[in-house]
Symmetry: C2
Subunit: 184 residues, 2 copies
């Protein structure tokens, strides 16, 4: 009766549900928060963060795409949105005429300065205030390791169409990680 018994253990499914739901809840809240505070979606804010982190040298489009859950055409669209708001400026790369470097503008920097504190507070309130520091470190160690493994995979921007296996879909998706502000 009902759906078939999954071949995965109940423990594993609870783990996946906890990871999945916790992450989604916080991401959803962050998206709402950022739309209100700075008028960008979480995805756009992350892109801007990546560009802002690069400082004055800017960042290549492909380089950005490789670290995010966007296809290259999707990135073109989103960076276009940021450029329309004058938060970002695109310029041809000096060394490779095929490449484009995205630079953050003063307005873009201002927006980051406005948005980051709320973003960071939200994540802390929803996540870290509910965890001991020991638990925090434990989760980080474990998940950071998994994440690193998943990212050691073919880049999404280089991906070429072909019949996909589950493994390939996984490998492909490894490049689809979202950006997050780093403290360094």
């Amino acid at each position: 009766m009902g759906i078939p018994e999954p071949s995965i253990s109940a423990d594993e499914m609870r783990a996946w549900a906890a990871l999945f739901e916790t992450s989604n809840i916080v991401q959803y809240a962050a998206d709402r928060n950022l739309r209100d505070s700075v008028g960008l979606t979480l995805a756009q804010f992350e892109i801007l963060l990546r560009i802002g982190e690069a400082g004055t040298v800017g960042r290549r489009m492909t380089d950005i795409a490789d670290s995010l859950t966007v296809s290259r055409s999707g990135l073109t669209y989103q960076v276009g949105q940021l450029e329309r708001k004058e938060l970002v400026l695109r310029q041809p790369a000096p060394d490779d005429d095929r490449s484009v470097i995205a630079h953050i503008t003063p307005a873009g920097l201002d927006l980051l300065r406005t948005g980051i504190p709320g973003y960071v507070d939200l994540v802390r309130e929803m996540l870290f205030d509910r965890l001991s520091h020991a638990d925090l470190m434990t989760v980080t160690e474990i998940l950071d390791d998994v994440r690193r493994q998943l990212k050691e995979q073919p880049k999404r921007s280089t991906y070429r169409r072909a019949r996909r296996s589950v493994a390939q879909a996984g490998a492909d998706a490894a490049a689809a990680a979202g950006a997050v502000p780093t403290t360094e």
Copy 2:
């Protein structure tokens, strides 16, 4: 120079990045996998899972919306898609004439039977094969606790528009968790 120093510790930010990216990578892969194998998005598959889990009694629309990252109008749209594919059937609730109960059809059950093994395999390959059972249990305990706390918040379906604080956005988002197949 560059973006301002976040007020959150580097440890905390690494934790958030690990959680965020790991979850996104696997979700992205699962979405691709399910589109290929059964022609549904991950979001649609989750909705179908929730309805399927309810068995022959079906499940109220609001009840479904409260456990997912969809607004009620969004759920109406997605369930409409599922109904168009004849995977689901909507009927008025016998006890409350305002309510609608979604029932899974035989075709819907077949689709779940087809899609679940690949979904489950993918999650295991990407996540659990890289974790010891002890680590798995540790992460689950910690995150499951956080998730439960986040979900003890006002329901999304009941949400009424108002000026939002960060805390409210968080509370609101607590209802936005994604569904995951349970083994029981």
